[in-house]
């Protein structure tokens, strides 16, 4: 019991540090591509410290107060239901508590709580942003769901651990190679999930200042930023497990998640922004068809 608790602490610490560092690295890389020097890699940590070091704060009420708590609980929970390293007891987390559907639905836990919290803030921009975010979410969920169903058909299981186990062996037993269509559909869905450009109308900073967290500051914001690291890490690890053969060691995990993240960064810096209705139509178009094809391919 205590050992497990220690493992969990270790695991969460690992994903927090790596998730935030990854954000820092990516910022640095993007800056270099722009020809800038860019912020230091540890900048996300400084930001979090700074935010928590705010001496005052405001709260609009209990739900507002709990919003970031929900958010970070959602992030940590999502992470804790995913096995991080294949075959490692230390980093298996609570993956015995549920399968891939649990993870898919737990993702919503934090988003829902955050949406509620920002809703109590009473700011119209928060509500607008949540409306956009939910609309977009419902759309990218379709290719992702199809992709996961295709995996379930392919591997005959919902269990993330089993899916990872089935991909062991050579690099060519990764889902990426055995089921490329599902992988493509999921990667496109991931672009929406990560809310990078072209799907960042949710937080459109110039138009609806930063979206849902418009009213959040100080410790709340620090918590949201921490969650960004955890949640990003969790999502990347999930994708790594489902499509890229999982990882057996921490360095492998780091390399793989980095590469997966770079996909959405690459797309993000290359494309302008979609309007909400455009992104809904986009996700329900080609990506969905790819997902359908992936399912049908394994159905037959």
């Amino acid at each position: 019991m205590i050992v497990k608790a220690l493992y969990i602490v270790l695991s969460v610490a690992l994903v927090t540090v790596w998730g935030l560092t990854l954000t820092g690295i990516v910022r640095k890389i993007v800056a270099r591509v722009h020809g800038r020097i860019g912020p230091p890699v540890w900048q996300p940590f400084v930001d979090i410290i700074k935010n928590n070091a705010k001496r005052t704060g405001i709260s609009h009420g209990v739900m507002f107060y709990l919003g970031p708590v929900f958010r970070i609980a959602g992030g940590m929970g999502t992470f804790l239901f995913i096995p991080v390293l294949f075959g490692s007891d230390m980093f298996s987390n609570f993956s015995f508590a549920g399968d891939v559907f649990l993870v898919m639905y737990f993702i919503f836990f934090g988003q829902l709580g955050m949406a509620l919290g920002s809703g109590e803030g009473g700011h119209p921009y928060s509500a607008i942003a949540v409306a956009r975010g939910l609309a977009q979410m419902s759309a990218f969920e379709v290719p992702f769901a199809l992709s996961v169903i295709s995996l379930a058909v392919q591997y005959d299981t919902f269990s993330v651990s089993s899916i990872v186990a089935a991909q062991q062996g050579s690099i060519f037993s990764w889902t990426m190679f055995t089921n490329p269509l599902a992988t493509i559909a999921a990667i496109i869905a991931m672009l929406g999930m990560n809310m990078h450009s072209p799907f960042d109308v949710v937080i459109a900073p110039q138009e609806i200042p930063i979206g849902p967290p418009t009213e959040y500051q100080g410790s709340f914001l620090g918590m949201l930023h921490t969650n960004r690291g955890i949640f990003n890490g969790a999502k990347l690890i999930l994708f790594m497990n489902l499509y890229f053969g999982g990882a057996t060691t921490i360095p492998e995990m780091i390399v793989k998640t980095f590469c997966i993240y770079m996909i959405s960064v690459f797309v993000g810096v290359s494309f302008p922004r979609f309007r909400t209705d455009q992104s809904i139509r986009f996700f329900l178009g080609i990506p969905t068809l790819i997902g359908v094809a992936a399912v049908i391919l394994y159905w037959l």
Binding site: G98, F101, G122, A135, S138, G218, T276
Partner: protein
């Protein structure tokens, strides 16, 4: 035994006595008049009772001859039955007419008495010529009485009536002559003894003319234009006699002639009856005048009675009890109801049906009217219901499915216009009032009581043995009588009544029945507590509510098909009453009634088709035979209509949302489960015996999936909080149907699991919103906002409900989703899995929309002082919240009993290991998930709490507003047209195509009705021509 002659003697003697007594004084004349009629009715009753007691039938020969030349009167059980009915109604109608008669001279009284003599004579006499004489007596007195109002319209109507009546008499007389010429006798008994006498061309022609004449007297469609003006122009009292007693006598003559007819004749005659039934109902749709509408309705009922007895004869049935059950039941129903309705129209006065809102302020009259409408529509517990059931059962047993279909279609049309009318009456629009008139009200009450007594009689003689079923209407009436009590007292009484039903019923149930019993009864009971939160008298809620709960119990307890259908129809009726009271428009209850009745008719058709061969008495549910498939599919289709699947969901949003705030939760959370219960009861009955069930489950699955999707999609566009929740219920029903269609252990477990959790969270959400709405007096979400500040408890429960609804772990909703997807993927329905996943993602949209628009965002200026919802609204919510939390902590508590109740079906079972549930593909440990969630929730919370000292609590306008300050809360709250971009992207999916389709269908039917109306030109000559043509066509068919 008193000789039947005295029946005629009494009235004829009175014909002479009345003028004499009238000389002495008006009141003496009237007294003699009423005494004579009362005596006649009393004689009828006496005979009926003694004949039932076993006394032999009497044959009396008068006029000094013995048969075949004598005047023969026969008094058997059938005759006495008709005599007692027609005389009673005649008596009641005369009381209604009292006011009009007293202004006339004595001859009006004598005419009335002559009319009664004619009627009684027709019933009693056994030879054709006497029948002719009595018919003439009836006709002539009718012409005169019709013209009694002495205006142009009445004269013209009477004249048209006379032309056609004259034609009919002529044909009858010619036919009688031919019969005499061919057979040498006019005595029915002789003719029956040697039917060969009427064989051959002349014999046929003779019989044809007689039958055609009788048919014309019964005003068959379309040769009935001549009669219809009478309904509009005549005094309602007189008209009620014509259409009940007069028609009854002629119908009885037809009944007496039935054994003479050939199969061909019977078929054509039955067809004529059905055509009359269907098309008269169709034309009635377009009627605005109550008299005329009732006229069409009477004619259609007459058609149905004709069809009833003719088909029975055609099926070779000789037992008089069956005729009594079918034709007698239909006739009795028609008799009292039409009497009641015509008298009511006298009471309301010359108003088109749209203005019958004057009844809304008169509980007794409205009750009587509602009773009449319900009875006439063939709903239980009235005789029409039992009679129709028997009739349709016989039709199905003999393979007359098209006829069955026509009757159901006609009945549906009938339900439409009758309930539309009831809707007009129930919605108070003008403040006109009608003066009291006990002389009219008393007969109506009497008729209603007689009708109810007859209902008891019929239900007793026919097969509904479970006492609980009889309690359903009894409870309704009891609570109607308790109406004057204060609302809270009635709530407590209703709780007690429903609670005792639950206590009595539940221990006797097992398996799925028990699960649904707990859901339906327990769910309703808990939510009924909310009723204590509303003050006032709350008229009209509890009769429906208690009836509904008892119907739930009945549905689960009953073991017979008839019992099931009875309970089902009672439930429909009860819920109709509930929505009628709460609804703002007449449209919603009407739509509900149409679709519910349509669904019920599908179930009815399926049930009687599935009845095992040769079961005249009622068959058990277990005996139903589904091997043909059709019956099963019809039943399932019926339940799907009731569940409101996409395509037939038109009634759903209004129905779930427009009732009172404490009633809507029950309708949406519990009543919706009745359809599910029915679905499961019949699917488990039929499991494995239905051919082609693979295809069936695929189709059912897609219906469920599309319902889930479209229900959800439409929910996100609603501006009305309750409508949003209603569409959400539609979506959840879709999941349930989808899961049920899988026909696997996990699938059914999922379906029932979702049903249970839906009951819980939808109950919470509706009650919470109901509590809010009852404080704010608006259901528009954009007018609300910020209620978390004023109603934190309601918010809390709503939030729990919402998390459960959305399927986010750790609450119960996730279990349903997990089971559903597991079962779907296990079955290999991948596209449906994706559709379900998409729907559940879209569900987040409306979830957020409602909680944000109502509880979060900006508190509006006008609502700054509202209080937390009533504690009575909160108690049921907290009970449900407790249940949700328990089931979330230990899902095993819920899933295991359900899967035990489901039993073993196709597909893998669920395996348990501690709190982990697993199947071949996946696994889930709800308890661990809950623990982990609480753990990860606590850590950041503790950190934030350590910082709480530095946090300033601010108010709603302390927001960053682009360096401005918000102007008003109303303009700062983002709530209207919340998902505009969704409309832009996927709006084409939510176009009201279904509504347009049904409106188109309605339009189409209505234009047919309008076209048919052109038959009625108002010209006497045309009508005469129509009669001639009708007879010609009839001849061509019968030949």
């Amino acid at each position: 035994m008193v000789s039947p002659v005295y029946l005629l003697v009494v009235t004829i003697a009175a014909v002479f006595l009345v003028p004499l007594a009238d000389r002495i004084g008006r009141s003496y004349g009237m007294s003699v008049f009423y005494a004579a009629i009362a005596a006649a009715a009393g004689l009828g009753l006496f005979w009926f009772l003694s004949l039932r007691g076993g006394a032999p039938a009497q044959n009396v020969f008068i006029a000094g001859f013995t048969g075949p030349y004598a005047i023969q009167l026969q008094l058997g059980i059938a005759e006495s039955f008709v005599i007692v009915l027609v005389n009673t109604v005649f008596l009641l109608a005369s009381i209604v007419l009292g006011g009009a008669l007293i202004k006339e001279k004595a001859y009006a009284l004598t005419l009335m008495l002559l009319m009664l003599t004619g009627i009684n004579g027709l019933v009693l006499s056994r030879d054709l010529f006497n029948m002719f004489v009595f018919m003439e007596l009836l006709s002539i007195s009718t012409y005169a009485l019709v013209a009694m109002p002495r205006n142009g319209q009445a004269f013209s109507a009477g004249f048209k009536y006379m032309i056609a009546g004259g034609l009919a008499s002529t044909f009858f007389l010619i036919g009688t002559a031919f019969v005499y010429r061919t057979a040498g006798t006019l005595h029915l008994d002789y003719l029956l003894r040697s039917p060969e006498l009427l064989h051959g061309g002349v014999g046929f022609a003779a019989l044809f003319l007689v039958i055609a004449a009788l048919l014309i007297e019964l005003k068959p469609f379309p040769a009935n234009g001549w009669a219809l003006d009478v309904y509009q122009a005549g005094h309602p009292g007189v008209v009620s006699i014509i259409t009940t007693a007069g028609t009854g006598a002629v119908l009885f003559v037809l009944y007496k002639l039935l054994p003479l007819m050939s199969v061909r004749m019977l078929q054509v005659l039955g067809g004529a009856g059905i055509v009359t039934f269907v098309f008269s109902n169709l034309v009635a749709i377009k009627q605005e005048n109550p008299g005329r509408l009732l006229g069409y309705s009477s004619i259609s009922q007459t058609g149905l009675v004709i069809a009833g007895m003719v088909f029975l004869r055609l099926f070779g049935i000789r037992e008089i009890a069956v005729y009594a059950a079918v034709a007698g039941g239909l006739f009795l129903n028609h008799l009292f109801v039409k009497g009641l309705m015509f008298w009511l129209s006298e009471r309301v006065g010359p108003r088109p049906i749209r203005e019958w809102g004057v009844l809304a302020g008169k509980p007794l009259l409205l009750f009587l009217f509602g009773l009449a409408v319900v009875a006439l529509s063939g709903l239980p517990p009235f005789p029409g219901f039992w009679a129709k059931w028997e009739f349709l059962k016989l039709l199905a047993a003999n393979g007359y499915y098209p006829v069955l279909g026509f009757i159901l279609a006609g009945s549906l049309i009938e339900v439409f216009y009758l309930f539309r009318w009831l809707g007009y009456a129930a919605v108070k629009e003008d403040h006109d009032t009608i003066s009291p008139a006990p002389a009219v009200t008393l007969p109506m009450v009497a008729a209603a009581i007689l009708l109810l007594a007859a209902s008891v009689f019929f239900s007793g003689s026919l097969s509904v043995r479970e006492p609980l079923l009889r309690l359903i209407p009894a409870a309704g009436i009891l609570f109607y009588l308790l109406e004057p009590l204060p609302g809270r007292v009635k709530t407590v009484l209703a709780l007690a009544a429903s609670g005792s039903a639950a206590v009595i019923v539940l221990p006797g149930l097992s398996g799925l029945h028990l699960v649904f019993g707990i859901m339906l009864l327990g769910g309703s009971l808990v939510q009924m507590i909310a009723g204590l939160g509303s003050g006032g008298r709350r008229r009209g809620i509890y009769p429906g509510m208690v009836m509904m709960v008892y119907s739930f119990a009945g549905l689960l307890v009953t073991e017979t098909a008839l019992g099931f259908f009875f309970a089902w129809e009672m439930m429909t009726l009860a819920s109709y009453l509930l929505i009628l009271r709460g609804s703002r428009s007449a449209r919603t209850p009407l739509l509900y009634m149409i679709f519910s009745t349509g669904g019920a008719f599908l179930i009815l058709a399926g049930l009687i088709t599935a009845l095992p061969a040769g079961s005249l008495s009622s068959a058990g549910l277990g005996d139903l035979v589904f091997s043909g498939g059709t019956a099963f599919y019809l039943i399932i289709a019926g339940f799907l209509v009731k569940a409101g699947v996409v395509g037939v969901h038109l009634w759903l949003p209004g129905f779930y949302s427009e009732a009172d705030h404490d009633v809507s939760p029950i309708l949406s959370s519990a009543l919706s489960k009745a359809a599910v219960a029915g679905l499961f009861i019949f699917m488990s009955l039929a499991n494995g015996t239905v051919p082609g069930s693979d295809m069936f489950s695929v189709i059912l699955g897609w219906i469920g999936g599309l319902t889930a999707f479209f229900g959800t999609l439409m929910a996100i566009y609603q501006e009305d909080a309750k409508r949003l929740l209603a569409f959400s219920s539609m979506g959840q029903m879709g999941y349930i149907i989808l899961a049920a269609s899988l026909m696997s252990t996990i699938g059914w477990t999922a379906a029932i699991y979702i049903a249970v959790t839906h009951l819980l969270f939808k109950g919470i959400m509706f009650l919470s919103v109901g509590g809010v709405v009852s404080r704010l007096n608006t259901t528009n979400m954009y007018e609300m906002g910020g209620m978390i500040k004023r109603m934190p408890l309601s918010f809390m429960t709503f939030l729990i409900g919402l998390i459960a609804l959305s399927g986010v772990p750790p609450l119960t909703g996730f279990g349903g989703k997990w089971l559903l997807y597991s079962a779907l993927v296990g079955k290999g329905w991948y596209m449906l899995t994706a559709l379900a996943l998409f729907s559940s993602a879209v569900a987040f949209l409306y979830c957020y929309r409602i909680i944000h628009s109502v509880f979060l965002g900006q508190l509006k200026t006008g609502f700054r002082a509202v209080k937390e919802a009533s504690v009575w609204y909160l108690i049921p919510q907290f009970i449900f919240v407790m249940l949700i939390m328990i089931f979330s902590m230990v899902p095993r508590l819920l899933i295991e009993p359900i899967s035990a109740a489901v039993g073993k079906l196709a597909g893998p079972d669920l395996l348990w290991q501690g709190n982990t549930v697993s199947h071949a593909l996946g696994y889930w440990n709800g308890t661990t998930v809950m623990m982990v969630t609480m753990g990860v929730f606590m850590v950041p919370l503790v950190w934030l709490l350590s910082r709480v000292r530095s946090i300033q609590k601010v108010k709603q306008f302390n927001i960053v507003y682009a360096a401005e300050r918000p102007d008003r809360p109303e303009t700062t709250h983002y709530a209207h047209n919340f998902f505009a971009h969704y409309t832009k992207a996927l709006g084409f999916l939510s176009l009201p195509l279904v509504r347009r389709f049904w409106e188109g269908a309605g339009e189409w039917i209505s234009s047919i009705a309008a076209a048919l109306r052109h038959l009625y030109s108002g010209n006497g000559q045309t009508y005469a021509l129509q009669v001639m043509l009708y007879i010609t066509v009839l001849y061509l068919f019968m030949r």
